[in-house]
């Protein structure tokens, strides 16, 4: 069905929905910038068993597993970091340890957004040229890592609110502001065994239902990866149009 065959009301609601899901996605960025996983997964995520969050390490499925990996485990890392930092910088005492861990800012550009003809879901892909920075660290060195990724995101309408259902994060470029050359350095690692391995694209690897690797960062010998193809116009969220295959019949 072409969009002109939809009712005018549906087309208007879908236009508004397209903007709403961009806002949901941006809220993720700003919550994540404060390492505020609690607000993110409490406020903008579906609590459905179908929800999923995937990264290089694999895919978490179902809200309980997503919460454990994205909130519980993430907070544990923040608390451990805080113990290192407070030892060096007493002024962090009394402050929330989570934003002190780092500001992880995954900016959003190159959006391709499609809202389903039935108006009940939306799908979007993004390129995210991001930065992850922190000032007070246990190593007594500030840092700003550059992390460029691709996102594939599915959203659903629940009780009049747009919520995340699936997120698939694909790390591509990991480097440091602004002293490294991510391509030449990788070639150096390939041709000089003394250089050691590349840094991991994530800090940890929580329990997953679908094991990884699901996407590998760029390297000279990496084959092309189209892990999160851009969304095409579609009728309804199903296994032909999703960033996470549904493992059971969708009711």
């Amino acid at each position: 069905m072409s969009k002109e065959q939809l009712s005018l009301s549906r087309r208007i609601e879908n236009a508004a929905a397209s903007q709403e899901v961009e806002n949901v996605k941006a809220m993720h960025t700003y919550y994540h910038g404060r390492s505020d996983a609690t607000s993110e997964w409490s406020q903008i995520w579906s609590r459905s068993d179908d929800c999923s969050w995937a990264h290089a390490f694999g895919r978490m499925r179902g809200f309980d597993q997503v919460w454990y990996g994205s909130v519980t485990s993430y907070d544990i890392m923040a608390m451990q970091n805080y113990i290192d930092v407070v030892d060096k910088y007493p002024e962090v005492g009394g402050k929330d340890p989570r934003p002190l861990s780092e500001a992880s800012v995954h900016t959003l550009v190159t959006d391709v957004v499609e809202v389903a003809e039935d108006g009940q879901s939306a799908r979007a892909s993004f390129i995210t040229p991001g930065v992850i920075h922190s000032v007070l660290t246990g190593m007594e060195k500030k840092y700003c890592n550059v992390l460029w990724e691709r996102y594939g995101s599915d959203f659903v309408l629940e009780d009049g609110e747009w919520k995340y259902l699936h997120e698939h994060v694909c790390p591509d470029i990991l480097t440091r502001l602004d002293a490294l050359n991510w391509a030449a350095d990788d070639y150096e690692r390939l041709t000089n065994p003394d250089r050691g391995a590349a840094p991991p694209p994530t800090l940890g690897a929580p329990p997953v239902s679908d094991p990884g690797p699901m996407h590998k960062p760029y390297s000279t010998l990496q084959e092309v990866q189209n892990t999160v193809p851009w969304p095409e116009p579609y009728k309804t969220l199903d296994n032909g149009n999703t960033y996470t295959p549904f493992v059971r019949d969708k009711q």
Binding site: R11, D111, W148, L180, N181, A183, E223, N226, W230
Partner: protein, 250 residues
């Protein structure tokens, strides 16, 4: 308080115009993704207006005009990608030696053109549109010195036409202010690493000649006169009334 009656357009036209600008953003997002996937050879047929139109692809130092010229540039990009992959297979037989040309195609180059800050104007007659994007990009095309990452700071400035209900590229300017080796300042002289023997074949690779080699936009250097952004799209009724991001041949 919001006025809900638009002075120019009906509610249906407002919806159609909003959908048009969303489709144009989607189109440029798909274009950028195709480049990441090293599928430049698909760009012309997938996104351009086609041979019967006055298509034009513009870079800092020249432009391709006409369907044959634009398509030949994209096909050359594919040829270069394929050449890089073969050179890497020669260099790393242990990892890639057992794979054929199709299986290794795309290994090596990685080019990201993030599209940001769209300013899009749909013509009053809905037959054409203009868009300007900022692009802070990064790429590694693999050069004679081997893999080498660059930062870019530049623009995509695009004219579109509405062809049978689908938006298509008519003119595209991809112009950079900065194309700088990552890890070096673009405010200082840069030292390009020495060539490596395994990539020397790239020295013989040539892109098709521009329709005209001409400085469209001088790359940044500390002695460059101040150079602003490409002209921002302005509201217009029909394409003949506005400016073009294409180049008129002299």
């Amino acid at each position: 308080m919001t006025s809900y009656t638009h002075p120019t357009y009906s509610t249906e036209q407002l919806v159609e115009r909003w959908e048009s600008q969303r489709e144009i953003k989607n189109l440029m997002g798909k274009y950028a993704n195709c480049v990441i996937l090293n599928r430049e050879d698909e760009l012309f047929d997938a996104f351009w207006a086609g041979g019967e139109n006055d298509v034009c692809l513009v870079f800092n130092d020249g432009y391709y005009k006409g369907a044959e010229a634009v398509r030949s540039y994209y096909m050359a990009e594919r040829e270069r990608n394929a050449l890089v992959s073969k050179l890497l297979r020669d260099r790393f037989p242990e990892q890639l030696g057992g794979k054929n040309d199709d299986e290794i195609y795309g290994i090596g180059p990685f080019k990201v053109n993030p599209m940001a800050c769209p300013v899009i104007e749909i013509a009053g007659d809905n037959a054409s549109a203009k868009g300007l994007w900022y692009c802070q990009g990064a790429y590694n095309k693999v050069e004679e010195c081997g893999p080498l990452a660059h930062w870019t700071w530049g623009f995509f400035a695009v004219d579109f036409i509405n062809k049978d209900g689908a938006w298509r590229i008519l003119h595209l300017q991809q112009v950079n202010d900065v194309d700088s080796i990552c890890g070096m300042s673009w405010g200082r002289p840069q030292k390009i690493p020495s060539p490596l023997p395994e990539f020397m074949a790239l020295a013989d690779f040539r892109y098709p000649a521009y329709t005209e080699s001409v400085t469209i936009r001088e790359q940044y250097n500390p002695r460059r006169p101040f150079t602003g952004a490409p002209r921002i799209p302005e509201p217009y009724e029909t394409f003949s009334e506005t400016f073009s991001y294409g180049i008129e041949e002299v």
